[in-house]
């Protein structure tokens, strides 16, 4: 069969339209690159949080809860509100983990700010150290995970976590915690909390990626991790973290 130049353009055009439609659809549906494209050794995940950008809306808490089916009353991530008055103990609240945000406060003359919290995915994690069977572990790409088919439910890791990030799942009777949306980030997506933060206060970062904005962020800002004296090598960095935060 002989194909004329006109037919060739027609077929080429159709292929182009179909391919771009497919690509658009893939983008919309959130389909990911082939899993074999993800190499664990090429990543070292963490998060940066800009305290000044957090408005305490709780979108991250809701998104996390929906994405990961977090049982009611427990939290993989939550937001705390600090109200610091000079010379006094800070007043802190986190009603239902800030799932519905915060009631407006009207007190004048006090410093007030929000602090999103999640597992710090520590490189020297005390929870990993104490697990009697190694059910909780640091993945090669730097995420602290729990093997729920192996966890005994002894809760030693909950006691060992300095940040209160773990809980016993009330139905599965195993320990549960933030997985940094491992099922998403290994497909090239960001975490549910970062994706739904309206101000970009939280950003998933990859310390092994030389082009990741984290390097510039760490270079240009005063950053701190929570409870640095615990020496856990936490990988969640906070910009402008106030000394009152625990």
């Amino acid at each position: 069969m002989e194909i004329s130049r006109r037919d060739l353009f027609k077929i080429g055009g159709k292929i182009l339209v179909l391919a771009s439609a497919g690509a658009t659809l893939e983008q919309i549906m959130g389909a990911a690159p082939a899993p074999e494209a993800y190499r664990r050794a090429d990543h070292w995940w963490g998060m940066i949080i800009d305290i000044d950008k957090c408005i305490g809306c709780g979108s991250c808490v809701r998104a996390c809860s929906n994405e990961n089916h977090v049982p009611s009353g427990y939290f993989r991530t939550w937001v705390e509100r600090y109200q610091v008055e000079e010379g006094k103990q800070p007043i802190v609240d986190s009603p239902n983990g800030a799932m519905e945000g915060f009631p407006i406060h009207t007190r004048e003359g006090i410093k007030s700010f929000f602090v999103p919290k999640l597992c710090n995915h520590c490189a020297d994690s005390p929870c990993v150290q104490v697990c009697p069977v190694g059910a909780t572990f640091v993945s090669p790409d730097g995420v602290v995970l729990v093997d729920t088919t192996y966890c005994l439910g002894c809760r030693y890791c909950i006691q060992a976590c300095p940040y209160g990030c773990r809980y016993l799942h009330p139905e599965k009777h195993v320990v549960d915690k933030c997985s940094l949306c491992y099922h998403r980030i290994t497909k090239g997506l960001t975490t549910a909390c970062c994706e739904n933060c309206p101000t970009g206060a939280r950003q998933l970062v990859d310390f092994k990626n030389p082009n990741d904005p984290v390097h510039e962020f760490l270079r240009n800002n005063k950053v701190e991790v929570l409870k640095p004296y615990m020496a856990t090598q936490a990988k969640v960095y906070y910009k402008n973290l106030d000394g009152a935060v625990r």
Partner: protein
Amino acid sequence: MIPGVDGFMYPNEVELQWSLLIVLYPYITGLVAGAFILASLERVFKVDAVRPTYRLALLTALGFMLVAPLPLQLHLGHPERSVEMYLTPHRSSAMAMFGFVYLWYLMVVLLVEIWLEYRADIVHLAQTTTGLRRLVYKMLTLGSENVSPEARRIDDKVGYIVTLIGIPSAFLLHGYVGFIFGSIKANPWWSSPLMPIVFIFSAMVSGIAGVLILYMALMKVEKMTIDMNCLDTIAKYLFYTFVIDFSLEMLDLLHRTYEADESFRSLDFMVHTRLWFSHVIVQIVLCTMVPLAILAATQVWRFSEAHRKTLYALSAVLALIGIFAMRWNVVIGGQLFSKSFLGYTSYKMEFAAREGLLPAIGLMILPFLIVLALVKLLPPWVKGEAREV
């Protein structure tokens, strides 16, 4: 406001993770270690006065040892997976070593020592009893019926070596339990290098007190005369270990108060409020200072035999309650405050639940029943022996 919570707790901290059953675990292992150390006084340190309680102390240690893992097992979210601790232990975990320390102590130390000590009796009973009892004793001989003086000499020698190994093992067993708590840097109420040492000495106090009470009770049940020399000696050792235990605990308290680090205000407030009754009133005043004063008085003044018995029994009961309160204050107290140091939660004990009061009571009665059964199976004394002493 969340019911039972004052101030701010991290949201996942509101619920206590380690309950009454985890209070029982160090309490029971402490009784094991303490009873064994009392037994070793006679065997290794040649304190002949405590000979009447030697066998009873071993049986007490065994009775409680058999129950020791049960509260842990009941507490696990997935008890059926606990075998993984033996199959794939995580080497960096203090808790992973529990199974091995436990098995070492139970199989290598306690069972071997008890068998060697009772071997001649078992052989004798296997030859003199009938029916099912005979079969049981026959099995317990493990096929060895040689009780010649030479064989007994070897038994004694091996038993001595096992006890020698047993003393550091008993220290290891309970020091290790202390280490489980003392090594948690996230929790300032627990994190202390003194914790294993405090646990060992408090274990000795509870074990000695436990055997003292059991000895007195069994003598009454069996209608035998209490050996007062033995009782005086046990009380003396109870006093000594209690002094060391109390000094260590006060040293810890003094150190915390004087150092007054970041956590101090929070912990101090907790001790003055939620732990006031169980820590200050029960543990320190009623169940440590009072029995210490009573025991000190018995060392200084000479009381009549009847009075001494009452005073010793009272001190021992108070000591047992006090050490239980100490375990309670460590385990429960360590979870009542927030790691943010900004708030406090409460412990609501359930009753007929898996980790409730009812199974806990059952778990505390069970070792006594086992000890009674063991005493029937392997009588610690020949009737009338105590009278002869």
